[in-house]
Amino acid sequence: MNKPNMLNRSRNTWHTIRVWRDRLFVVGFVMSVAIGILGLAALLIDILADGLPYLNWNFISSYSSYEPTEAGILGPLGGTLWIAGLTALFTIPLGVGTAIYLEEFATKNRLNRLIELNIANLAGVPSVIYGLLGLAMFVQFLFGGSRNVTAGALTMTLLVLPIVVIASQEAIKAVPASYRDAAYAMGANRWQVVKSVVLPQAMPGMMSGIILALSRAIGESAPILIISSLVVVTFVPTTPDSSFTVLPLQIFTWIGHQNPEFRGIAAAAIIVLLGLLLTMNGIAIWIRNKYQVRPEQ
């Protein structure tokens, strides 16, 4: 046993160490944040400086051209919106459905644990692999060689499905068990509980997950490079079997262009893509805040 004064001294030393350790960590955290912010700021300033001079309505509303002054992004912008729309159409029912099954209906046996583990692993597979899979499965097998926007969207669906499933599972898990119990006590069956209690509660979390997943889908270039392979498209797709290209691919092509002026054009396209991503993330946050029903205490 320590004497009381020993104990006090030891406490004081400990206190000083803890205060300093606390400060040290705060400095460390602030620095990590600063590195991220500075990197982002440098990127944004560089892109804005290069791209803003080229950014005007004409740039948005005209098609690709070999002349930098006439080049626009309407073709790939249309393709990107098609990809986002179709991917949403395929991903939402599949992803949400999988999450509901895994969380609400599946019994926790070995098989279902294996499925969940695999979904988590799928989220880490490099995107180019999905491109090759999509090329074999959708382009060659399903569509007989037609590299259309639906094949692109289905590939993107495979790519982002794990993200949607995991986000939706988390959202469902966050619904308090007492809500379900209350509904069961009222005589509801499992599907009614899911439809009327769990889904409305989990919807904001699911929506943010879905929109973040779609943001990922429109930012990807590697799988689309394999599926579409097109870099000059002078039309907006009008049907689901139309050929297409997307913004990241157009940016990639312009950066490699032999005329150095196209790097400014590429920067302008990056601004548009960033704008699109920020809008989507903004919508995700807005939906979450608007529909988040805080449980009354």
Binding site: K195, T234, P240, N259
Partner: protein, 308 residues
């Protein structure tokens, strides 16, 4: 648990089959009746096809011409299956690709549309290396070459480190350069800064006083102000790459022809035929716009004769 019939159940259950039906409908119409002239292939030839397609569409706005850059080999893979109408190529079609096309019943016509002159470039402050012989280039670029100082190339060059930049081994430019200089495709030293992006090479060479690199003429044309080009002596004196020397064939051995291959079945379509006519009639002028060099006029005329 008590099961209750829910009248909403069917509404939700119907979504999944509907999605399948949509997919199947699209699947049936896949490979559809769109009247596009689909071009894929070499990224080196792409700029010419791009500018020709754009000018052609100014006169024929109803015809869509999407272009891809899967590379010469990647483009041929699709072309021999009949997936594309036109394949851009920075080298002639290989026998294996020819066989595959024959197996699939694909017949095609080859057109030579322009020249490229691979340009050997150095830093803009380098004023001593103005001309190198093909043999000296081989000494530098051959496999296991130990040349890493300018004075190892020629005794009167200063004692200065030599750093090399070039395209990576997937590139058609690499294939052509190694074939022309080292005597065999793919034979090259490996210890140089390699990139598939020519702009990276431009940046590398223009920012390094000790540099030497090579890439297509177009990238030199657009970056003349930050690079010096080396004339090449193939036994008939020093010739620098220029529109004239590439056009008349005196820039040797680094001039290479570029091709388009057209599916004969597509060529019977009036839109494709008029596009090819337009291509051959305007390639000379339009190739120059994007940094390449046209053929002598008579060669276009001969090829136009093939169309009838």
């Amino acid at each position: 648990m008590i099961r209750m019939a829910s009248r909403h159940k069917s509404k939700y259950l119907i979504i999944a089959p509907m999605m399948l039906i949509v997919l199947m409908l699209i699947g049936c119409s896949g490979g559809g009746a769109s009247r596009e002239i689909l071009i894929d292939g070499s990224s080196t030839v792409f700029p010419i096809s791009e500018v020709v397609a754009e000018e052609f569409r100014k006169e024929n706005p109803g015809i869509q011409i999407p272009l891809g850059i899967s590379g010469t080999g990647g483009g041929f893979k699709r072309f021999v299956k009949g997936e594309t109408d036109i394949s851009d190529a920075s080298r002639p079609i290989k026998d294996s690709e020819r066989t595959e096309a024959a197996e699939n019943g694909i017949e095609f016509t080859e057109f030579t549309i322009a020249y490229d002159g691979l340009s050997v470039v150095i830093h803009s402050s380098n004023d001593f290396a103005t001309c190198l012989t093909a043999a000296e280039l081989k000494k530098i670029w051959k496999p296991n070459s130990k040349v890493n100082n300018w004075n190892q190339i020629r005794d009167d060059f200063p004692d200065r480190v030599l750093r090399l930049y070039g395209p990576d081994s997937d590139s058609g430019t690499f294939d052509y350069f190694t074939d022309a200089i080292n005597g065999d495709e793919d034979l090259s030293r490996g210890d140089y800064t390699a990139s598939s992006d020519d702009n990276v090479l431009v940046q590398g060479v223009s920012g390094d006083q000790a540099s030497m690199g090579y890439f297509g003429f177009a990238y030199y044309t657009f970056n003349r102000h930050v690079l010096n080009v080396i004339a090449v002596d193939d036994g008939d004196g020093c010739v620098a790459p220029s529109a004239e020397s590439i056009n008349d064939g005196s820039y040797s051995p680094l001039s290479r022809p570029m091709f388009i291959y057209v599916n004969n079945e597509s060529l019977e379509r009036p839109d494709v035929k008029s596009f090819i006519e337009f291509y051959l009639n305007n390639a000379s002028e339009l190739a120059a716009l994007v940094g390449y060099v046209g053929l002598p006029e008579v060669e276009y005329e001969t090829q136009l004769g093939l169309l009838d």
